[in-house]
Symmetry: C2
Subunit: 204 residues, 2 copies
DNA sequence: ATAAAATCTGAACACTTGTCCAGAAAAAAT
DNA sequence: ATTTTTTCTGGACAAGTGTTCAGATTTTAT
């Protein structure tokens, strides 16, 4: 066995190790998210998360620097997933007309399915107004969302300059009907579809 | 002195007393707001507020039921003032063309002048997604804001049905540029004016 | 089988939180 | 001037917070 082989073997081991650690981090983050989306950022303690994960408090600190590190990791993880989900809708080969419809339906479905997770996003986004520790992750995610809208618009033949304003408009309707849905208004997602369709038709 | 006179006198006293109490409540609330807008809902303790008011913690409980009561009182108080301010702009006798301009300028000025207070509003609005105790005050204020937009639209000759969607759009731009402004982007309010003007011109 | 390294535990720490309340201080009524 | 009522104080309380860390446990390497 040459020296290079040895080094390669060691590198492999190290990688496998950090991959395992990453998997465990994600596993913990997933449990943390289930806790966070129920209680919100301020009301969720590390003990809540530890209990939810079936793990001792110390373990959380073994994997995450501190509470902020844990929470930003969680938010990033979930929102990346959301952007990917919505992105896959746009990748499917569909006619431009159907595209907008699918996009909107995807969003309204997400209100129904992931209402609690989305409210966590709005919680963190608001926290960022007070705590600079959240500024970066919020800006990153908001960029991702804007890009998502940009690809949607470019596929619909609209100038990409409209990405930011369109994102903002979509977001405000999304947030409003999410709020209504959380308050018990089961018809909110359908209403969301109607109102946003009307708005996009005027734009596209 | 007749018996009726006596009763009237007593009623007067009672009224003066409760008026005095109301004034003191408002005084405390104003101090509380200065604390809340710096730290946000979750991070502001009753001790912070007490210190800011130059008063002992017990005094706060003498005037307010509990923390939620105090905070909702504060939010209501400040937002009512904001709606009144904006409403007075609409009451002035101006041409419809100037109206939109004035309205937008008023909003952008408020970003500059009351940035911290507005972020408190967004904080509470998000809290309402988790804590039903805030649902009522948030719904009330949001109704007030929608009505504000409605009167603006009716003066501009736009169907009042557009009030809700227009409010949502204005809100999203307001929130976004407020966030940018708080992050240090001094040009955000001006940008807000430009973007919203473009949007309203298309609508009006 | 043994040693070493990584993983995990949960008690302990120092601190903060909202709330309560006996009693002091001030104001109002008599 | 005296009593009654209102207003206010600030210490005490129980519960909860994030963080630390010595040591137990498990996994990995030799």
């Amino acid at each position: 066995m040459t020296k290079l082989d040895k080094i390669a073997r060691l590198a492999e081991k190290a990688e496998a190790k950090s991959a395992k650690r990453a998997r465990k981090k994600d596993e913990l983050a997933d449990h943390a998210i289930t806790a966070l989306k129920q209680l919100g950022y301020a009301r969720t303690s590390l003990r809540d998360i530890a209990e939810m994960s079936g793990v001792a408090v110390g373990t959380l600190h073994y994997y995450f620097e501190d509470k902020v590190d844990l929470i930003t990791y969680c938010v990033r993880r979930y929102k990346v997933g959301f952007v990917a989900d919505m992105g896959s809708i746009l990748k499917a080969d569909v006619e431009p007309e159907q595209l907008a419809d699918r996009f909107i339906k995807g969003l309204s479905l997400s209100i129904r399915r992931e209402a609690e997770t989305h409210r966590l996003w709005y919680d963190i986004r608001t926290q960022a107004m007070f705590d600079p520790a959240f500024e970066e992750v919020v800006a990153d995610i908001e960029d991702g969302l804007r890009d998502l809208v940009a690809t949607f618009l470019s596929r619909s033949g609209v100038s990409p300059e409209q990405a930011r304003p369109t994102y903002l408009v979509l977001d405000s309707f999304f947030r409003f009907h999410l709020q209504a849905y959380l308050r018990g208004d089961k018809g909110a997602p359908a209403q969301f579809e109607i109102e946003v369709s009307a708005l996009l038709n005027r734009l596209v």
